[in-house]
Structure formats: structure tokens, C-alpha cells
């Protein structure tokens, strides 16, 4: 976090389509929750100007049962540094996320999601490296529990002229319930050889060994699962550039786990 960075709050969602332009070094905070208007479908275009450093925090926490679809497109300018922190909590939510990286831009995209109850979270993310020397690190962590369904498709697409691209995608998910379902697709589409591209994915649960260790210290299975969820979120929360939004997510998480 850069000290004294300007904080920009994006006002609650009011229209089906909106354009967000960020043209100075800043921390941007966008929350979609009960204060936002109900739309079954909305579109967000975000444009980040050239040569700036931006940290963008996005929290989706709208608890309605009917499905919501967001189409979100983010364009990074030349030599732009963007750190994204996306947190999805609850709801039936389908996101189509398209991010475009210009030359020398750097994107650090961090996502954490918790799909619980009977919610269905479906995210389709396309990350296009369009010009040379762009760098992207994509870290996706998620938890599914109860009878929730989560599907996350994330692709890194490196065009032929996007030489010297550096891309890394890491996806991990924890499935805490026999009735929950999860599907991950970490895709790589590479059209040039001057790249360094990799991806990895891991789906796991609290192992018997870990559970035994925690049990032996007086922690039962439910508490152990809560600890696991907290640990996944903690690594995300620790990176956040703003205390206020950090406290908000912590409170929401505590509420969900209680």
C-alpha cells in the first residue's frame, strides 16, 4: 500500500450500466450489498489510466436468492500497476470478468469466495495479454460448503504480439461438504513462445491428519472448519489496503460462521 493514497468510494449500484474511470494513484473501494439496487443483470466497465498505481477492492455481498449476472470489463493502461482484491460472499451470482493488459502493465488479481447454503456462484474470467511485457499474477481461493455450487473458469490468453508476458495463475478450493460441488478450469492459451506462463489448481479438504492434530488440542470438526475458512480469508484480508473494508469483510465472515 502506498501511504496517503487517495481513497475513492464507488457509489452503490443504481444503474444497469456504469463506467468507472480511474485516472490517478488511488485505493478504490466498491461494495455491492443491500444498499445497491436490485438488478438481475448489470454491466460494469472499468478503465485504469496509463502510468498509475491503483488498488481496487471489490466486495459482493448481496443476499437475494434470485440469480444475478454481472458483466465486468477492466482495461489496464500502459505501464499501469493494478492490485485487485475481489471478495464474493453468498448469493446466486454469475460473473463474466474480462481483463485486458496493455504493454508493461502489471496486474495482481486476488480473489476469495465463500459459497454456502444453496447458493450457486459461477465466475468466468478471461485475462487477455494484448501487448508486450505485461505481467499478471492471479490468485484464486475459494470455499464451498453446505449445498452450494461453485464454478470458476479462469483463462490466461496471451496474444502473439504479447511478447515477454509473464503470467501465473493459482487456484485453490476447499470443499467442506459432501453435498457441495465445485468445478475449476484454469486454462492457458498461449500464441507466442516468448512467455513465462504457468497455472496450478488444487482442490482439497481438511485432511484427516490436520483434523486429528486439531482434535487432539480440543478443537472439534466444526471449529476446525471455521479455522480453515478464517485462514483462507486471513491471507486475503492481510493484503487489503484499507482498514475499514477489512473490518467490514471480517465482520461479515464472522456473521456467516456464527
Amino acid at each position: 500500500m502506498i501511504a496517503n493514497k487517495k481513497i475513492i468510494y464507488i457509489e452503490p449500484l443504481k444503474n444497469k450500466k456504469r463506467n468507472i474511470v480511474v485516472d490517478e494513484d488511488s485505493v478504490v473501494i466498491e461494495v455491492i450489498d443491500e444498499d445497491s439496487k436490485d438488478f438481475d443483470k448489470f454491466k460494469t466497465n472499468i478503465s485504469i489510466a496509463d502510468n498509475i498505481n491503483v488498488e481496487y477492492v471489490y466486495l459482493f455481498n448481496k443476499n437475494i436468492t434470485s440469480p444475478i449476472i454481472e458483466d465486468r470489463e477492466i482495461k489496464l493502461g500502459i505501464n499501469t500497476r493494478l492490485k485487485n482484491y475481489y471478495c464474493y460472499l453468498g448469493s446466486n451470482f454469475t460473473v463474466t470478468l474480462k481483463q485486458q493488459l496493455d504493454s508493461h502493465s502489471e496486474l495482481d488479481h486476488n480473489v476469495v469466495f465463500l459459497a454456502d447454503q444453496k447458493n450457486n456462484l459461477n465466475i468466468q474470467a478471461k485475462n487477455n495479454f494484448l501487448y508486450p511485457k505485461a505481467k499478471g499474477v492471479f490468485t484464486i481461493q475459494g470455499i464451498v460448503k453446505d449445498q452450494a455450487r461453485a464454478g470458476y473458469y479462469s483463462s490466461i490468453i496471451i496474444d502473439q504480439i504479447a511478447k515477454d508476458a509473464n503470467a501465473k495463475l493459482e487456484m485453490s478450493a476447499i470443499n467442506l461438504s459432501k453435498e457441495a460441488k465445485i468445478s475449476l478450469v484454469p486454462a492457458l492459451k498461449v500464441a507466442t513462445n516468448q512467455v513465462n506462463a504457468s497455472h496450478s489448481a488444487r482442490i482439497s479438504n481438511l485432511s484427516k491428519k490436520q483434523l486429528f492434530y486439531l482434535n487432539s488440542r480440543g478443537i472439534d470438526k466444526i471449529q476446525a472448519q471455521e479455522l480453515l475458512i478464517q485462514s483462507v480469508f486471513q491471507s486475503f484480508l492481510d493484503k487489503l489496503p484499507n482498514e475499514e473494508i477489512k473490518n467490514k469483510i471480517e465482520a461479515l465472515l464472522k456473521n456467516k460462521l456464527s
Binding site: 498461449v190 513462445n193 497455472h199 496450478s200 489448481a201 482442490i203
Partner: protein, 464 residues
């Protein structure tokens, strides 16, 4: 002639005259399907199966989720051609020109040295089939599918196109209608065949279609290794291979299926392979895809029994004009099943290689463990590599790990090797051979050498 050029000539050259093509016609009709069935004196149920499959084929759409197949003109394909109407069990009885082709491919020599049995198919029919006496004595059945249909009708009706049904997709429907030749292997309970068995499929004439069917049953506690090879001369006219492999691996059995596919670069290779694996049984797929214009091939393991396991090792080389869309599918239906997928691809000269994979864990399958590892090497900056792994997890006790990397040959590694006296080409060959070593080391030596030669051949002509 260099060894690599020699390999090229024997795989994609050596076309024989094909006078038998005068008796054939192009395109697919009910009449042709009936003729195929009649020429083989098939039972009624098989004719009906063919006709039902034909109807399915007509009504199913072309797959639109993968490579573009719109240029494949199915009306210009010859669906059945018989070069020779007798099957031999001695190479001396095979017509000279056909025997020469297989001699150049090294099949009779390999049979003598290192194989338990050999089948050789030329166009639509098998022209040679033999199994060494010691395995016959132990009850092993290794036959051409047409012969097996006559001799073992119960096994055929129980297993034929049950793992890969005609309705799976358009090309399995086509296969169900026009299949011809192929291999039937039955390994009785407790028998361990310690030498590999091999089948080789050769398309010779222009515009041919080959639709061999491989059906393998490995009974409880049995073990075997089967190798398939294939090739065709180049004509500049599309040909089609839509074979089908069905493997049943019973309780505690172990089976390895190796294949080196070297169809000519005007062939569409749209093959379907699937294994049903029962309790504590194991299937191992080892495959190399080099030839063909478009390949769509995703061997599938269905882990049906408790503790079953699958290994998928694959290599694809996509050179100029080629699309190698290959991968692996593993469906975990039972608990404590495990799978390991290792896929390597090399792209050059604008070639496109794709890994398309699926791991699917059913809700009832507890404690499943999966590891997927994909590496792509791009030898120039206009080639493509895509990795599309799908992981569907419906059980909370599963552990799934996937890793993939794409990139070029490290300049540091090249510099190191060149500083020790290797030419650039030698250094690249050495690095590429190291890259594919996890696959080649699982093949018998002769095939590993052949695969290395194929790579050398494909790399020849410079790196961008």
C-alpha cells in the same frame, strides 16, 4: 539417408498401387453399410447395430467445441476397401507389396524379437494375425475383430460398444455404422503376458477412411501390454481415421495400452478410447500423437471399482498446419480411486497443440486423489499452446492437484550445451528428448527410439 528421413519415408511414403479401389465408392449410404456387414457374414444383431448407428450419425451434429472440422468432406471418403481377402498367420502368405510395407515398418522383425503376438491391418481388413503358441495354450485370445465376431459371439454381444456407445458423439456413431477390422484381445483370469502384443494399422489408398475396432478384456488378476501403431502415405487429399478402443480391466488386473499415432498430415484422426476399470485394477495409457492434420483424442478411464487407478501419459507434436487436440479424461465413480495425468506437447511452425482434460469425481467417490501435470514447449513465436483442464469435484474428501507450464527452450540451457561443443540443432534435440523422456521411458526401447526419431524429424528444418 538419415535415420529421421528413413522414418519419414517408411511412415508417410511407400504408397502401393491400389487397384482394389476401383471396386469401391465414396460417401456413406445404407447400401454400403449393408455391403460391409454382408461381406463379413455378420449376425443380424450386428447389421441392426450398424443401421441404428447410421441413423444416429445422420442426425447428430458435427462437434463444434474443438478444432474446425468444416473442411472434412465426408462424402469424399471411401468407407470400405478390401485390398486382400485372405488373412494370413504367416508373413509368407501376405501379398508381396503389402508385406514389403510392413517389412519397412519393422513389424515382422519386431514380432520375432519382442512381441507375444501381432495383428496387421491394411485398409479396412486385417491381413495378418498371429499369437505365439505359449499364449494360445494359456487361453489367450488375440484375433481380428471380424474373426472374433464369428468365433466368440457371446463375448461380442456382451462387450461390443458398451464402453463406447454409438450415441457418444457423431464419430462414434459413424464408427458403429462402418467399423471394420481391428483387434480382439481376451486375457483369461490370472494370466500374465510378459511380452507386448501389437497391432499396426496402415491406410494405403487416397481418401480412405479407417474404422478399426479394438476390444480388450483383461480378466481378474491378469496382466498385459498392448501396443498400437498406425500410419498412411501422404496424398494431399483428406483421409479419415475414426477408430474405437474399448478396454475392460477386471478386478486386480493391470493393463497397459501404448500407441504411437503417425497418420499422414492430410488425415483427420478422430479416435475414441475408453477403459472401464474395476476394483483394485489399473489402466495405463501411454500415447504419442505426431501425424494427422487434425487430431481429437482424449483417452478416458472410468474408475468404477474401489481402489482402481489410472495413469495417462501423453505426448503431442504439432507442426505446421497441424492441430493436436489431445488430452485425457478420468471419471472417478468409486472410492479410493486415483489417477495421474502427465501430458507434454511441442508446437512448431505455427502448429497448435491443446491439452483438453476432464477429471470428474462423483458424489459417492470418497478419498479420491488426482494429479495432473501439463507441460507445453513452443519452439517458435507463431505456434500455439492451449491448456484446458476441467475439474468437476462433487465430493468433499477429494484431493486434486493440477499444474501446467508453457514456454520456450531456455536460452541458458542452449548456451550451456553449445558451449560444450554441441550445434544448436543437437542442443535443441537433446533438450527436447529430455522434455519427452517421462513418456518415452514408459515405452519399449524400439518404440522409444522411434519416437525420438519422429521428434528429430519434426524439428528438422530449424527453430524459429
Amino acid at each position: 539417408m538419415s535415420k529421421a528421413k528413413d522414418t519419414k519415408e517408411k511412415l508417410w511414403g511407400n504408397a502401393n498401387p491400389a487397384p482394389y479401389m476401383q471396386a469401391t465408392s465414396r460417401g456413406l449410404t445404407k447400401k454400403i453399410v449393408k455391403q460391409i456387414s454382408a461381406s463379413k457374414h455378420e449376425p443380424n444383431w450386428m447389421l441392426q447395430h450398424r443401421l441404428d448407428s447410421l441413423e444416429l450419425f445422420k442426425n447428430m451434429p458435427m462437434p463444434n467445441w474443438g478444432p474446425d472440422l468444416s473442411k472434412l468432406d465426408l462424402d469424399k471418403i471411401t468407407y470400405f476397401a478390401q485390398a486382400h481377402d485372405q488373412q494370413a498367420t504367416d508373413w509368407k502368405d501376405v501379398p508381396k507389396d503389402i508385406k514389403n510395407t510392413f517389412d519397412k515398418l519393422g513389424i515382422p522383425q519386431a514380432e520375432q524379437k519382442a512381441l507375444a503376438g501381432v495383428g496387421a491391418q491394411y485398409e479396412s481388413t486385417v491381413i495378418y494375425h498371429n499369437l505365439k503358441q505359449q499364449w494360445q495354450d494359456q487361453g489367450v485370445i488375440f484375433e481380428d475383430m471380424d474373426v472374433a465376431l464369428q468365433k466368440y459371439p457371446e463375448l461380442m454381444s456382451e462387450y461390443f460398444m458398451k464402453a463406447v456407445p454409438s450415441h457418444l458423439h457423431k464419430f462414434t456413431a459413424l464408427h458403429g455404422a462402418v467399423w471394420s477390422g481391428g483387434t480382439f484381445l481376451y486375457v483369461p483370469k490370472g494370466v500374465n503376458i510378459d511380452l507386448p502384443l501389437q497391432a499396426y494399422f496402415r491406410m494405403n489408398a487416397k481418401g480412405m477412411g479407417q474404422f478399426e475396432h479394438t476390444l480388450i478384456i483383461v480378466e481378474e488378476d491378469a496382466q498385459a501390454h498392448y501396443i498400437e501403431g498406425c500410419s498412411a502415405p501422404r496424398y494431399g487429399v483428406d483421409s479419415l481415421h475414426a477408430g474405437c478402443v474399448e478396454i475392460y480391466v477386471k478386478k486386480n488386473a493391470r493393463f497397459r495400452y501404448s500407441s504411437v499415432e503417425s497418420w499422414s498430415k492430410d488425415a483427420y484422426n478422430l479416435n475414441t478410447k475408453r477403459a472401464i476399470v474395476e476394483e483394485n485394477a489399473r489402466i495405463e495409457w501411454v500415447g504419442g500423437n505426431f501425424g494427422s492434420n487434425v487430431t481429437m483424442l482424449y483417452p478416458c478411464s472410468v474408475l468404477k471399482g474401489l481402489g482402481a487407478s489410472a495413469d495417462h501419459l501423453g505426448l503431442a507434436f504439432a507442426n505446421s498446419g497441424q492441430i493436436q487436440d489431445a488430452g485425457a479424461k478420468v471419471i472417478h465413480l468409486a472410492s479410493q480411486t486415483s489417477s495421474n495425468i502427465v501430458m507434454k506437447s511441442i508446437s512448431k511452425g505455427g502448429g497448435v497443440s491443446l491439452y483438453r482434460g476432464l477429471v470428474d469425481i462423483s458424489a459417492k467417490a470418497d478419498n479420491v486423489s488426482i494429479s495432473v501435470n501439463c507441460d507445453a514447449l513452443l519452439l517458435d513465436d507463431n505456434s500455439h499452446s492451449d491448456t484446458i483442464p476441467v475439474m468437476k469435484i462433487n465430493n468433499a474428501t477429494a484431493t486434486v492437484v493440477h499444474e501446467a507450464r508453457a514456454g520456450k527452450i531456455s536460452a541458458k540451457d542452449l548456451f550451456y550445451l553449445q558451449s560444450r561443443g554441441l550445434s544448436e540443432e543437437e542442443a535443441i534435440n537433446m533438450i527436447v528428448n529430455g522434455f519427452i523422456e517421462p513418456i518415452t521411458r514408459e515405452l519399449p526401447l524400439e518404440y522409444a527410439v522411434e519416437m525420438n526419431r519422429m521428434i528429430e524429424l519434426e524439428i528438422e528444418g530449424g527453430i524459429g
